[in-house]
């Protein structure tokens, strides 16, 4: 099985502080756990039968750069021979602007990291404060400047529809991102997750979400601005300059198999998706005791997997190509969803040239309402 896996994800569950909207698997202010984390990760990696040669490796979090330059190097030393990026591999690390320094960039180079995903979120001080972020807009400018000279591929995360944000503020954030020459931009409308501080504040009425009409306007504006600047929207939330798409994420949406390590990390073998236990301390304890850290298992039938492939494919702007889909899944698109596709085309939510089906912009903006018909 391992021989066909070409992608790996490693979850680094540490942050300086937890932002109010965040429901990811992480611990804030527990730097004392670094050492145990490295040891546990080593144990989990040793469970691989054989080393994996990687097309892509993605270090996500949390904030992997919160480990510091030495910590990042230490992390890579834990990979030993288990994870072997090929010379052409895309190796991405998620970074907080406050952590990126000359020595951090040096560490990136030393480890073979060639792509940085920077958690910018906004370039407006009020929005950053609203979002509970710990960096300032000036930090971002300085870091983008450093990274620009480093030769690394730079991706920027942007949050829109933050409480109190206006259309104009969104436009200015995007303009500045473009002027800072990011190769790749991920744009997320703020999602209100159960259990977050934001969720509670909304329930108590101390935070008010942006109304849906404005949210849509903001998102459409961003799509237009980025397209005009030469970024192509290749998935709902992702925009790239030519040839700068994230190969790792494309592997997810292509339903290729990948390995994953770290608390809450999910792996996929082509049919089953298993998710590690989410609690950092439990994940550490179990690994140190040589116990299993498997949590949820999502086992799919061949048809279930094909339906999932259809959804993930339609979230991509290139859409779903009928022959390629059949080749990869063994199912004909039309056997799975012919009627729905016809309805979508009739309603203006999709285009179908007989070979390829892709969602229109309005279909994409409402796509969650479409999936119940095909899943």
């Amino acid at each position: 099985m391992n021989s066909r896996i070409r992608h790996a994800y490693v979850h680094v569950p540490f942050c300086r502080h937890r932002c109010g909207y965040c429901d990811f698997t992480l611990v804030a202010g527990r730097d004392d756990l670094f050492e145990n984390y490295f040891t546990a990760l080593g144990v989990e990696l040793k469970r691989l039968n054989q080393p994996i040669k990687l097309d892509t490796l993605y270090l996500g979090g949390g904030t992997p750069t919160h480990l510091g330059p030495d910590g990042v190097k230490r992390l890579f030393s834990e990979f030993h021979d288990a994870l072997q990026p090929l010379p052409t591999a895309e190796v991405t690390i998620e970074a907080n602007p406050l952590d990126v320094s000359e020595s951090m960039i040096e560490a990136f180079h030393e480890c073979g990291i060639n792509r940085v995903s920077l958690g910018v979120q906004s370039l407006n001080s009020v929005t950053l404060k609203k979002l509970d972020r710990d960096h300032r807009e000036s930090d971002v400018r300085q870091v983008m400047n450093l990274l620009g000279k480093s030769g690394l591929t730079v991706s920027v995360d942007l949050i829109i529809a933050a409480p109190g944000q206006t259309l104009d503020l969104v436009a200015r954030d995007v303009e500045e991102i473009i002027s800072l020459c990011a190769h790749h931009v991920s744009v997320y409308c703020l999602t209100w997750e159960v259990g977050t501080a934001f969720w509670g504040k909304r329930a108590r009425g101390t935070l008010t979400p942006v109304v849906e009409d404005l949210e849509r306007e903001m998102f459409e504006l961003v799509i237009d601005q980025l397209s005009d600047a030469g970024y192509k929207q290749y998935e709902v939330s992702n925009f790239a300059q030519p040839a700068m798409t994230c190969r790792h994420n494309e592997a997810y949406w292509d339903c290729r198999a990948w390995e994953a390590f770290g608390p809450g990390a999910a792996r996929f073998d082509g049919r089953n998706r298993t998710t590690n236990l989410r609690s950092v301390s439990v994940w550490i304890k179990k690994l140190l005791n040589n116990q299993s850290v498997t949590g949820d298992v999502d086992t799919m039938t061949a048809e279930g997997a094909a339906r999932e492939r259809l959804v993930l494919g339609l979230r991509r702007r290139c859409g779903v190509d009928r022959p390629a889909f059949f080749q990869a899944s063994g199912f004909e698109v039309d056997d799975l969803a012919e009627k729905s596709i016809q309805e979508w085309v009739a309603a203006g939510f999709a285009e179908d040239d007989g070979r390829c089906i892709r969602l229109t912009r309005s279909g994409m903006l409402l796509s969650d309402s479409l999936w119940s018909a095909v899943l």
Binding site: E308, V311, S372
Partner: protein, 603 residues
């Protein structure tokens, strides 16, 4: 052991709900040694677990006890009665089997609507009333005041009232003595031709229908042929006996006694509550007076969520009807809901009970339409129509007269709530009859009200305007003409037949507005705008709009997100499955009750 009539007492316990009837029954069973204390599970009469364990159903509606009083042994038969207004008729049949009734009143709650209704039902049957004030040991008991209420409302002498606590056993022996001393023995002749009154029945999967009877005259023995007077059918008695409280066979039942008969009857519909049993041939006795067929007052549509479950629903309804002949159903179809059944019930509670059993026993997803009462229509051509479904109302041009059922409602309320109750009833087009003060703190108000208003939301409303202290009971007065109309609801321009209601024309604007407003909250936004309209005929009287969804898309969908998101989407799919599509609008099942639930916005 044969008991002569002089040593038999037949009685019921009548009370308002929660006044301690079941606990009192338990205490009687215990004090008479019918059930030993260690076997006594609380609320013996209500407990079905025992029956479930044995895989049979005994409705323990009649228990035989023995009690020694002044040196002589007596047979006491306790005949249980349903407490709720829906079952008035069954109550009256049970009471017809008794010579006395224990009237139980809670020492804190006092006299309530069903206390009065049930006490009058017993008085109307000429029963000897043995009044008991229960829970006298409660800290908050207000014994003197409640005694005054009983005197004022029911002319009961305070000194006749037995002070008791069913929970702790205070006064139970006094009560048993009073039952024997005050309640007259049955007047019957075991030598005369058999005359027995059927007061209940149930279906047992092994033995067929078990018929509950009170022998008025004559004697019935095993092997004897008996005739059901209403149907004229003759059956052989295969087994007979009494409930002690489990079934116990005996050789004969004679005049005055209460027990059960098993006659190899496979269909409970052939056994009518209130019917009379006698011997075949010309020597048979006459029927006991007062038999009435069950009267269904409330109808609603029941539809399977999934059209293909229609046959399963039919089978489930048939199974339920086996044990409950007062429930009826007929296939019908609705453009909105497909194929289903129009079901008739004695009242709202009866409807809820049937629904619950259907859900528990059948595991079917159902869509229920809002209940409506039956209406009478006099057409211009002289024909009279009974309307059980608003869809069946013909064009206004054909209608000469539209009649609705009117009930006489008695409300028992603390005096400080008289004003709000008056207001509520006049809002509901009630006709005020009288106020009676039962004590300085409690009063009884009487109104004639449309039954449609009562089932709409009156019960909840009374509870809320009296902070839970008000109770009501009602009795059908008959059908009377009114200015009624059918109000239709359109969703996305299409009429949803299952949402039509019949209402007073003067209320139509208000009801229409309330319904579309409620629907607006029940129906999720769609990818297009959805118009909700209320109309009488072609005239639109209210409108609301559900704006289109503008944005609904998951932002992050990476490796670890996919399973989680998929679960979310799958959940939406499940939710959608339980909705009905009208045109391309998904209407959740709850919305079909919206026409009833608008009460909150009414005032």
């Amino acid at each position: 052991m044969p008991f002569d009539c002089k040593h038999i007492r037949n009685f019921s316990i009548v009370a308002h709900i929660d006044h301690g009837k079941s606990t009192l029954a338990d205490r009687l069973l215990e004090n008479t040694g019918t059930v030993e204390k260690r076997q006594l599970k609380t609320q013996m009469l209500d407990d079905m677990e025992l029956e479930r364990q044995r895989g049979i159903t005994i409705k323990a509606r009649a228990v035989r006890m023995e009690y020694r009083h002044n040196g002589e042994l007596y047979e006491l038969n306790l005949i249980d009665t349903p407490g709720h207004v829906d079952f008035h008729y069954e109550v009256s049949r049970s009471l017809a089997c008794c010579e006395g009734a224990v009237l139980l009143v809670d020492a804190f709650q006092g006299v309530e609507a069903q206390t009065v209704a049930n006490a009058y039902a017993a008085i109307n049957e000429d029963l000897e009333i043995v009044p008991v004030i229960n829970k006298v040991d409660l800290v908050h008991a207000r014994v003197d005041e409640v005694l005054l209420e009983m005197e004022q409302s029911l002319a009961i002498e305070p000194e006749e009232v037995i002070r008791a606590s069913a929970k702790t056993g205070i006064g139970i022996d006094d009560l048993l003595a009073a039952i024997i001393d005050r309640i007259p023995p049955p007047q019957g002749d075991p030598e005369k031709a058999l005359q027995a009154l059927i007061f209940d029945s149930h279906y047992d999967s092994y033995r067929g229908v078990i018929t509950y009877v009170r022998i008025i005259d004559g004697t019935v023995t095993k092997g004897q042929k008996i005739r059901f007077l209403k149907t004229g059918v003759t059956h052989e008695v295969l087994d007979l006996g009494q409930f002690v409280p489990q079934r116990r066979s005996c050789d004969q039942l004679a005049a005055g006694q209460v027990g059960y008969l098993v006659c190899n009857i496979k269909d409970v519909e052939h056994v009518h509550i209130g019917d009379t049993l006698s011997v075949p041939g010309k020597d048979g006795a006459a029927a006991v007076a007062g038999y009435k067929p069950p009267q269904r007052m409330v109808y609603c549509g029941l539809y399977p969520s999934e059209g293909e479950n229609f046959e399963e629903l039919r089978e489930s309804l048939e199974r339920l009807a086996i044990n409950d002949p007062s429930f009826e159903f007929q296939p019908e179809s609705s453009e909105a809901l497909g194929f289903g059944f129009r079901c008739g019930f004695l009242g709202l509670l009866h409807m809820e009970i049937i629904q619950q059993r259907l859900e528990q026993e059948a595991d079917l997803d159902l869509v229920q339409t809002a209940p409506n009462v039956t209406y009478q229509l006099l057409l211009k051509n002289g024909e009279t129509l009974e309307i059980r479904n608003p869809q069946d109302v013909p064009d206004t041009g054909q209608i000469e007269e539209f009649r609705q059922p009117i009930v006489r409602c008695n409300f028992l309320v603390p005096v400080e709530f008289i004003g709000p109750v008056m207001q509520l009833c006049s809002d509901r087009r009630g006709v005020f009859l009288k106020t009676e003060y039962l004590s300085p703190t409690r009063a009884m108000l009487s109104f004639d009200l449309p039954l449609g208003e009562v089932i709409y939301d009156l019960h909840d409303k009374i509870k809320s305007v009296t902070r839970g202290y008000g109770t009501l009971d009602y009795e059908l007065q008959g059908y009377f003409p009114a200015d009624l109309a059918r109000l239709d609801i359109l969703v996305g321009g299409k009429k949803v037949d299952a949402l039509s209601i019949i209402c007073d024309r003067r209320d139509a604007d208000r009801r229409g507005r309330a319904i579309v407003k409620k629907l607006r909250g029940e129906i999720d936004r769609h990818m297009f705008e959805v118009a909700l309209q209320a109309a009488i005929g072609t005239k639109i009287i209210a409108r609301e709009t559900i704006s289109a969804l503008r944005k609904n898309v998951t932002a992050k969908c990476y490796g670890g997100d996919i399973s989680r998101k998929k679960k979310l989407w799958a959940k939406q799919k499940e939710g959608k499955k339980r909705m009905k599509s009208i045109g391309s609008v998904d209407i959740p099942q709850k919305a079909f009750m919206a026409v009833l639930e608008t009460g909150a916005e009414r005032q």
